[in-house]
């Protein structure tokens, strides 16, 4: 099964063409990854087409699309999600959303760890998004959005042997795995539903924060 995998939930823009065999791990045929990107909207679609070209496939050959649903800074996150949704609609291809942290954890736990781990990414505003996983990369807690110091306190109640993700260093734990979600991890998280041919549910972004907006208070007077 040929799967297009996208993620724009972090500062990295990722697009990959992945083969999902009937059993075993996904195999990345081609990928385009831009780290430290600010222009998610400009980079993503060219990345998709370049990855397809390198893999020698056309968009219409894709059997399914997998996209990271965050958590992540909202503006960038939406680029990947709406791209996946529109591509799926235009091609008549199912679109599966997966938690972006799960994709990082699944790659980080490719070989079983000796204990739990956490994934930590940048939430800006001096906070991080984080989620906790078991030794095989299955989520136990989160995702949450909190200050790094609060996360460190929480680790007392969630003893972990390692951390992954672009902000993993804030935990003080050994850093493992990819800093951002990769095509193999994204497809691995969705592998069971992809193979079963399960209809994907609606795509729901993991914002974790309400929009910044305040209801207006009493009117300010203009006259003295």
């Amino acid at each position: 099964m040929l799967v297009l995998a996208l993620d724009t939930s972090t500062s990295t823009v990722t697009a990959g063409v992945v083969d999902l065999p009937e059993s075993g791990a996904p195999v990345v045929r081609a990928q385009r990854v831009s780290a430290g990107a600010r222009k998610h909207g400009e980079l993503l679609m060219p990345h998709v087409l370049e990855a397809c070209a390198e893999a020698g496939v056309a968009l219409r050959d894709v059997d399914a699309i997998v996209t990271g649903t965050g958590p992540g800074p909202f503006t960038g996150l939406r680029v990947g999600m709406v791209t996946a949704a529109a591509l799926g609609d235009a091609l008549g291809t199912p679109v599966h959303g997966v938690c972006s942290h799960d994709a990082i954890a699944r790659e980080a736990c490719a070989t079983r760890l000796s204990g739990n781990m956490v994934v930590v990414t940048d939430a800006r505003r001096r906070e991080v998004y984080w989620a906790g996983y078991d030794a095989e990369g299955y989520r136990i807690t989160g995702p949450h959005v909190e200050a790094p110091a609060v996360l460190v306190e929480r680790l007392a109640g969630f003893p972990s042997v390692a951390a992954a993700g672009e902000q993993a260093a804030v935990t003080g734990l050994p850093v493992i795995g990819p800093a951002t979600p990769g095509p193999a991890g994204l497809v691995a998280v969705a592998a069971d539903v992809l193979r079963a041919g399960t209809d994907p549910g609606p795509l729901r972004p993991l914002y974790l924060r309400r929009p910044d907006a305040v209801e207006p208070g009493a009117r300010k007077r203009v006259s003295a």
């Binding site: 909207g41 400009e42 993503l44 909202f74 939406r78 680029v79 529109a86 929009p211 207006p216 203009v222």
Partner: protein, 349 residues
């Protein structure tokens, strides 16, 4: 000329719009669908559009709106010959959703992508109702823009003659509505209550109309403050605020300046046609006064029906149709969303 079907996507503010327009070999454009999903009710309690709320709503509404538009038009994916999208100006996070979606549809269907200017699209929409547009002077007024544009040709360069130096006209309507205890968005409510009011009850100032002021720029901030002072003075005196009179007098001050400057600009630039667009162009008093003044000046007034004046996808598809008809070079798939796209850039290359 190339004929075909264009799907247009608009997400520059709080409306998720998808329109479908057919352009025939003779250049005639026909509207086939105009689906709008608005998040305006989610913004009402904040008294203005909240960008993040709008962006979230666009993400949810985008694909369903495309579906509905295609169903309404009775077409399938194979029938679409180009995808057009508002590339700017507008709210950056909101624009980004539409631009990303448009790229995906264009790439998946393997058709040209046109990233177009929102203001030029407001002018182009008129052709759907009133046919080919001769060289025209356009007055675009909404919650986001107040501009006078010289438009010799829809697909060609547009020359900005003037714009607001502070608040947009629609913004002034929203703020004054709030002063008068009327709901958001203010435009339709002011229009409604002003019908029972006396437009000459209060002599509110006409901004930037002095002999040394920029002839085609607008300013509504001073007017808004004058209304606030007037209301506060009445409140201090314990006098009930005559809402209808204040609304009518405020509205008159806005549309007086808008129409006077538009007619003058048309004359000075040798244009025989004045075209109105934007949400405020749905205002009944603006339409009436513009008609009177155009008649007096010997100008032809063209105003699209209200649903085409407010932000929508049909206007983007209409501009895209004119570009397709002339085989314009498509935008690249690296097309950026540009929140401050200059109006001189009709098509982002």
């Amino acid at each position: 000329m190339t004929s075909g079907l264009v799907l247009g996507i608009e997400t520059s503010c709080d409306e998720t719009g998808v329109g479908i327009v057919r352009v025939d070999a003779d250049g005639t454009t026909t509207l086939l669908a105009n689906e709008i999903s608005s998040s305006v009710e989610e913004h009402a309690r904040f008294g203005g559009v909240v960008p993040e709320v709008a962006s979230r709503a666009h993400l949810q509404a985008m694909v369903p709106a495309v579906h509905r538009a295609m169903t309404t038009a009775g077409i399938t994916a194979r029938d679409v010959d180009a995808v057009a999208v508002t590339a700017g100006p507008g709210l950056s996070g909101a624009l980004l959703v539409g631009v990303a979606a448009a790229k995906a549809y264009a790439a998946a269907w393997d058709v040209p992508l046109y990233g177009v200017n929102h203001l030029a699209a407001h002018v182009a929409v008129d052709t759907l109702q009133n046919g080919p547009l001769p060289p025209a002077l356009a007055l675009l007024v909404s919650g986001g823009h107040s501009s006078l544009l010289s438009v010799p040709d829809l697909a060609g360069p547009v020359t900005p003659l003037g714009a607001t130096i502070d608040d947009a006209a629609g913004e002034a309507f929203d703020k004054v509505a709030r002063l008068l205890g009327l709901p958001f968005p203010g435009g339709p409510h002011i229009d409604r209550v002003a019908r029972d009011g006396d437009p000459s009850a209060v002599a509110f100032p006409r901004g930037l109309t002095g002999p040394r002021d920029a002839p085609f720029d607008f300013s509504f901030s001073g007017l808004k403050t004058a209304v606030a002072r007037h209301v506060e003075a009445l409140e201090r005196a314990g006098t009930p605020v005559p809402v209808a009179d204040v609304a009518a007098s405020f509205q008159e001050a806005v549309v007086d300046v808008l129409t006077a400057k538009a007619v003058r600009a048309a004359r000075e630039h040798g244009m025989d046609v004045l075209c109105l667009g934007g949400g405020v162009a749905a205002n009944s008093r603006l339409r009436a006064l513009a008609q009177d003044r155009c008649d007096a000046a010997g100008l032809v007034l063209r105003v699209p029906r209200p649903v085409l004046c407010t932000d929508n996808g049909a206007m983007v598809a209409a501009l895209g149709a004119h570009l397709l008809a002339r085989d314009a070079a498509p935008s690249p798939l690296a097309l950026p969303a540009d929140s401050s796209l200059p109006v001189t850039e009709v098509l982002v290359g």
